[in-house]
Symmetry: C2
Subunit: 185 residues, 2 copies
């Protein structure tokens, strides 16, 4: 951020009076520009013994497999965001169940929220997917998954399926977890 | 938003090519300024049969009672945000348990996440609180609560305490829910 989005004058990065961390501040009009984490909402679509994955057609991690998920938009709920992303990336309708994984990625200011869902009807590759397919557990392309959040959600799912119970899992992804996918920066 | 925070030129509000909703766009440098919902993280601190509430010293809803909660910051986890807000507003340390309410407020682009917590030691009014106190169920100031998210979380809590089980509750706040607190706009 270089300029104030309200008045167009240059901003500076400093700790506002009464605050305890630096913000982008505009001395011209007094606006303080707060920045906050973003939510990535998605689903784990289930069809009998198989689950649905999408192969990414866009960066980052083009060509790798993911669950349908993306940035939550203003004016929608977390469940609406998860269903919309599933519709956009997999051309699929789903019946949403509970929140299943809540994963913090503090080093990149993101919070993942993946909901368990039942696939309701067909599917197809949306514009952001190269292909969409159903996988048995033995077929999961573990070495070709797009993100550590996806691997962690799938590992919880298969562990829980053996137990027959699907509680919410809250956890964090560390920079080291991401290095395996993206290399060290 | 009037000006591009990257290059300082005026922005326009229109649907970018390949997108399906309007964004603030800069024709000068090509930046698209996405806007996303914000997370409000907090706790329901428990001390024996009582729970902790804070009376707000700041707008909105100054003078009304709330659970300690506030905007999640970049570079922290949802649990860290909930604990930090509890420390700031109630000068209290807590042992966090599970996520308890996840409440969508799509009309104001917010997502509330309240964690159950055990109060660990003392408490005091932080700079954003007029007072902080422990309440038995019969003492809750139902007509003086700050936000519908707080009322809903407390009602779930007392219902669940009678059942002895505290599952995650996911729900939405509607504009009508908010009218009772803020009046119609």
């Amino acid at each position: 951020m270089n300029f104030c989005s309200h008045c167009g004058q240059p901003v500076r990065f400093a700790i506002p009076e009464g605050d305890d961390r630096p913000r982008y501040m505009c001395d011209a009009c007094g606006t303080i520009h707060y920045q906050n984490p973003r939510i990535i909402a998605g689903t784990l679509p289930i069809s009998g013994s198989r689950i649905l994955l999408c192969r990414r057609a866009i960066a980052p991690r083009k060509g790798y497999w993911t669950l349908p998920a993306g940035f939550m938009e203003n004016a929608e709920t977390t469940l609406e965001a998860a269903a919309r992303e599933t519709r956009e990336e997999a051309c699929a309708e789903v019946a949403l169940h509970g929140l299943y994984t809540l994963i913090n990625l503090p080093h990149i200011d993101q919070v993942y929220m993946i909901f368990l869902a039942d696939l309701d009807g067909g599917f197809d590759a949306g514009p952001e997917s190269l292909e969409v397919a159903l996988f048995e557990e033995s077929e999961i392309p573990w070495d070709e998954l797009a993100f550590p959040t996806i691997e962690r959600t799938l590992r919880h799912f298969y562990d829980d399926r053996r137990e027959g119970s699907y509680p919410l899992h809250v956890s964090d992804i560390t920079p080291e977890d991401r290095e395996r996918y993206f290399g060290s920066a």
